[in-house]
Symmetry: C3
Subunit: 203 residues, 3 copies
């Protein structure tokens, strides 16, 4: 699999997953149809917009039509789920796409940072901000303390994934393979953290 | 009217309107003089800053002195209105400039997106973000759920205006004419929505 | 002292100070270890990221390793302070670094705006946004009304400092000297405002 294919795959998975998560959060908050769609769109596009803006590029979502179509598909899927299942707070239908989006976007953030020639720290920071940016923006718009601050091991897997990506490309792996490895690792760590209830110590 | 004149006109109208709206919201929240001015400035400059940053330009407000002077004039006008009228919550003096600013900034966002060569979707997204960005930032700073999520037909007119702008330039209209058409349409839709109490269905 | 040395000095002081402030605010809000670190990092890097993004540069923190190391040192220092002193709300250990960070970042903002060829207003706006950006982001993530809106004479000193920097370079001072002057003035005004309880009139 080429690097470009790996990037496109992770990007689509992340957009779809976060569009669903944002829409479901909007429905939980009793927003109307448009508010639900806005939250879905902003949650899906937020992370990538932060990522691209920080490295000085016009956000991908404004340059390609496919990205927006994927997001709208995600919002539509969420509307079907909402009608079918009702209240989805803490439901696997929210928690699982959220973990998937976190993993996929950490990989795209690391990749974009690497291509832009950032420092290792820069790559890790960009992986983390891309992964948690959309969800944090969604929580902010709903005036909730973002999940990244509330929950242990939400941003931590993205940080570890960013480090893993950097280690991978440092030992000569193609960026595409390093992205897949990063995403799988982030997803595994996030799901394990959820299942085991991992917590970091408070200070 | 040339495209540049249309842009300058819409820009000044939007800046003035949103400076008033932001300042009045700040006064309602019992902020001191400086807080009122900060909210007026950020509400007025927020949308355009998002717009310019997303297409990779240094924000207009940082490059031209007139923009900031217009904003300060708007803040000063708002201070006069506050002393004269007292409580302005839901007052036409807030609601009307807000609709005017929404319309004018949707037009500048569509125009900047078009000039930057964005996709049709990108143009609509930029029109919408420019229109609702400043007000949302204002609401976030006051830790309120942004009006764009609370109210039906707030962002919807901006989306429709962005589509109208794109249709206009697609059939060969000069960008300046398309901007005026976009702004008039957004303003009409927003005022109609307010008067008729249009609501989108909840999901 | 050369301009580059003055910039590096102000940058390190600001990063360190705001990393401490953000971490302490996170600990007050009973966040876990990671949340505390995230808040420290975002508070420290927020102002500079806004500054660099607005003038079209990749944020310094993503390009240099030292910046991130300084921030992590600040977070570590804060963790020691928290264990040692317990509740730090309104404690001089929060208030003093906050004033120092405000002063140092106003100077870096003014300097970057000047180098980027912004208008005098643009320089003042960039000085102010750089100074108050990180703390405002921190407050937003904790869903608090940002200190810049709540407190008199928080952003005011940064505005005055930006004007002073501009006056300095206008009369021919080297940018490095103007930065030091700006920072000293902002710090003095902020500390005086705190001690004397200066308030601006409400409207």
């Amino acid at each position: 699999m080429s690097d470009a294919v790996a990037f496109a795959l992770m990007n689509v998975i992340g957009l779809l997953a976060f569009a669903i998560v944002g829409s479901l959060k909007g429905a939980e908050a009793d927003l109307d149809l448009f508010g639900v769609a806005v939250l879905g769109i902003l949650t899906a596009l937020g992370g990538g917009t932060i990522r691209d803006t920080l490295v000085g590029q016009v956000p991908l979502a404004l340059r390609t039509t496919t990205d927006v179509l994927v997001v709208l598909l995600g919002v539509a899927l969420a509307l079907v789920l909402i009608r079918r299942f009702g209240d989805l707070r803490e439901h696997p239908l929210v928690v699982l796409p959220d973990a998937v989006g976190l993993a996929a976007f950490a990989a795209t953030g690391a990749s974009v940072g690497y291509e832009a020639g950032l420092t290792p720290f820069g790559i890790v920071v960009l992986a983390t901000l891309t992964a948690v940016g959309g969800g944090s923006l969604c929580d902010l718009l709903l005036t909730r303390v973002p999940v990244v601050l509330r929950e242990d091991f939400y941003a931590t897997p993205a940080v570890i994934g960013g480090v893993a990506f950097w280690l991978g490309v440092s030992v000569g792996l193609p960026a595409g393979i390093a992205m897949i490895g990063c995403a799988v690792l982030v997803l595994a760590l996030r799901l394990l953290a959820l299942r085991r209830g991992w917590r970091l110590p408070t200070v």
